[in-house]
Structure formats: structure tokens, C-alpha cells
Chain length 247, copies 2
């Protein structure tokens, strides 16, 4: 529990590589996570070579940890393997729709989180790369993923070369609801976000980006509407090209 | 690591309730998980009352553990709170699309998995309810979720009243790929699934369901195409009604 509570994302790694034994342990912990119907609709792609890292780095917007981390794991929703098994058994399955994409995303994510916790218990540090869904098409090419295999998230893993401060969180009671969702009044919203807005780091963000407030840094710089729409449409196109239906 | 490796889903619980202190600890561990941009686009709904359990049970297809578990946690993708904050700050954000639904699903899932591991470290047992996405519309009504709050997954949690066998897994090397995805030949597929097909429990499934093989039990009984399509369309309709765009 202390391990979970002391989690920090690590973006700087030592050059030390990760042994095959530890890698194997991390992967074993990953696949012990719960999964829908025990069908294991996932695959994990291990990247350690600098050739592949060089291909992947720009697809993760050249975040430095992609080249620096000794280990990258790309966790995918995989209906290719299961479909081949079904074919061999004279039947077929249809998991190419919104519901099953979400089921697969849940399974891939909890597998990834098991790996993170196992890694941290071994003194390693991790970082999730949200860029995986932004450039899923190009990442699929780089990793030779066939139809039916969708990269969901990527972990960089290595021995930490930094001990960053823990990031802030909203007060626990503002994200937890008892028995029913209690909607937020304007006063409550202002109260919940006050501490976050008053952090030195938040104030610097606002100043550096020449915005009026922190919310605008999120909506007008970090997660602009046109980017959200662009990358969502790109993802949708990739999935549709692979036979996914969103009807 | 041993904790992660010895995970078993628990579906039978003792009547013992879970103290507020432990619940608080579980939730604290949950929100320490990594999340996209530290925006905390999630909410957790705590269910302990039998009134709410009675409402939720049929929506989870009357699986017995819903009434029996002392604690249910419904983890949601929540853009309502963040949007209200943006409004109060004279800006707005658009996270109502496919990309952000997946981002939110990842964040909700890794939060849920942190809670599971924290729970297991306290001697509790957990079960994921995949039925959450099947009946997201009705669950939203039961929990009074406003527009912009989508239930992603539900955990039942309690002190175990059973010690089930661990479920099988495919050989680790069949779900892991080094540097590139290596597609599966028919021989490889047959080799990978052999052990699973030969389990006594698998053979019983096939016999009970009067099918030729295990794959057909999955595709023709457990996850029939018409059910997949029906529940996916239902989910899509709910999201579209809430203003999500899948274009």
C-alpha cells in the first residue's frame, strides 16, 4: 500500500539495463491481472533495441525518455490471435466494435498497471505514454502489428535517475461519491480546484503560457479542441480501416 | 510481486463489512495512479446500501456477488467536473470523442487496478464486473450520474469466503513479442491453445454446452455476435445522446 501511495512518474532513467529475469517477472505479473472472459485479448511488444526506439521516438513526440529508458512495453488490444484460434475451430467471433474496444482497453490497462506496480516493487520507475493512441497507425507500422492488433498504451521502464516531487491531487472527497453522484455547485468547484490553482507550478504554467488561468492552459495549449478532434478522427479512421464498426 | 502473481478473482464474500479507514486507504491508493495530464477525469461511486445494491444487481445480470459483497465501487470517466471548472474559468474543453473516451477508460482502469491491489494487500478479494458497459445507461440512472459521467467498470470487494484455483493463462511467450509482432501460424495457434483446450473445466464447458470445441463455446454461447452488436449499439447510443461524437 505504501508503494502505491508513493507512486511518482519517472521520466529520467539510469543507463543500467533490466535483466531478462526481471523482465520476465514483470510480464508474468502483467498477465495475472483479471481479464474479460479469460480470453487474453492482448499482446505486449517489448522494445529494447535502439533501432526500434529510434522509429518510435518521433511517434511519441520525441519525449526524451523513449530513447533513454532501457525498456519500452507497448500493450495492445489483440483480437488477431483469438480470431485465428476461432477460425481453426470452424467458428468466428466479432469483437470489432466500440464495446469490445473498451473491454480490450480496460484489460490492456490493468495488465499495464500490474506491470508498473511490479516494476516499482523492484526499484524501477515507469512512465505512461498517452501518445500511443495519437499515433496508433504509425506505431502499428513500426512494430509490424497486423490487422486486429491496436496499440493502447506504452510504458517506459528503467532505474530512476531522479526523485521528483509527487504531483498534486484534488481532495479525495471531491472525486468520490457515496451512494449517488452529487453534482457540483459553482462554489464547490471553486473550492475543489483552489489548492491546485495556487500551486507555484500552476502559477508558472499560467505565466509562461500567457493565459488568464490554469484551466485555459489545459484547454488552449495542452489539449486544444482542434488537436483532440484531429487525433480522434485519425484513430477512428485507423480502426475503421481495420474493420471496426462504430454503428 | 507475490501478491500480483497469486491473484484470484473472488466471487464469494463473508458478511464482514469493510471499515471506513480501509475504504479510505483503498481510494487514496486509487487516485495515486498515473492519469492523463493529471486532470483526474474520473469519479468513483461507492455503494454499500442494500437499496442501491438491489437497483444495481439486475443491471449486472444478477450475479450473486453484487448483493453479497459489502462494497461496490463503480469507476467512471468524468468530464462533468472538469468542464464545470473550465466554464467557471471562461473557457471550454471538448473531451467527448473516441480518443478521450479511450484515454478516460485507461485512467479509470488503472485507478481500479490500484484499488484491487491495495484491497488484496489487506486480505480482501475483488471481482471486476464487465457488465458495467453493457448496461451503462441504466447504471447511470441508478447512480444519478449526470451528462459527461460514463460508468466504465465496477469492482465488488469483500473478505473472501472461498479460495478458488487460479485460472489458466496461455504460455507467456505466446502473448509477448520481442521488437516486432510475430504473426501466428496455424501450427503455433494449435500449440498455444492446446493446454487450455485440454483442461478438465474446458472439456466440461464443451460438453455442457453441446458444442464441438471450446472456441465455439466462446463465440456461440458466451459472446454471441448478436449480443456483441446489441450491447455495442446500446453503448454508442448512450454516448451519442450525451453529446459524444464518433466522426
Amino acid at each position: 500500500m505504501e508503494l502505491l501511495k508513493s507512486h511518482r512518474t519517472i521520466r529520467k532513467y539510469q543507463a543500467t539495463s533490466i535483466s531478462d529475469d526481471i523482465l520476465n517477472d514483470l510480464l508474468e505479473c502483467g498477465i495475472r491481472a483479471s481479464n474479460t472472459g479469460n480470453m487474453q485479448l492482448y499482446s505486449i511488444i517489448v522494445t529494447r533495441s535502439s533501432v526500434k526506439k529510434t522509429l518510435l521516438a518521433p511517434l511519441h513526440f520525441n519525449q526524451a525518455m523513449v530513447m533513454q529508458a532501457p525498456l519500452l512495453l507497448t500493450v495492445c488490444y489483440d483480437i488477431n490471435r483469438f480470431s485465428k484460434w476461432c477460425e481453426a475451430n470452424h467458428t468466428k467471433v466479432d469483437f470489432s466494435n466500440l464495446l469490445w474496444l473498451l473491454n480490450g482497453t480496460i484489460d490492456a490497462s490493468i495488465l499495464a498497471q500490474n506491470i508498473c506496480i511490479a516494476a516499482e516493487s523492484k526499484g524501477l520507475g515507469i512512465c505512461y505514454l498517452g501518445t500511443t493512441l495519437y499515433n496508433a497507425t504509425e506505431i502499428s507500422k513500426a512494430l509490424n502489428l497486423p490487422k486486429g492488433v491496436i496499440p493502447i498504451t506504452t510504458l517506459t521502464i528503467g532505474y530512476p535517475d531522479e526523485i521528483p516531487e509527487q504531483t498534486d491531487r484534488l481532495p479525495l472527497n471531491s472525486v468520490v461519491h457515496f451512494e449517488e453522484y452529487e453534482n457540483y455547485s459553482n462554489e464547490r468547484i471553486s473550492d475543489i480546484y483552489k489548492e491546485k490553482e495556487n500551486l507555484e507550478s500552476s502559477k508558472n504554467f499560467v505565466k509562461e503560457n500567457k493565459k488568464e488561468n490554469l484551466a485555459q492552459v489545459y484547454t488552449e495549449i495542452r489539449y486544444k479542441s482542434e488537436d483532440n478532434v484531429f487525433f480522434s478522427q485519425k484513430l477512428k479512421k485507423m480502426l475503421t480501416d481495420q474493420g471496426f464498426s462504430f454503428e
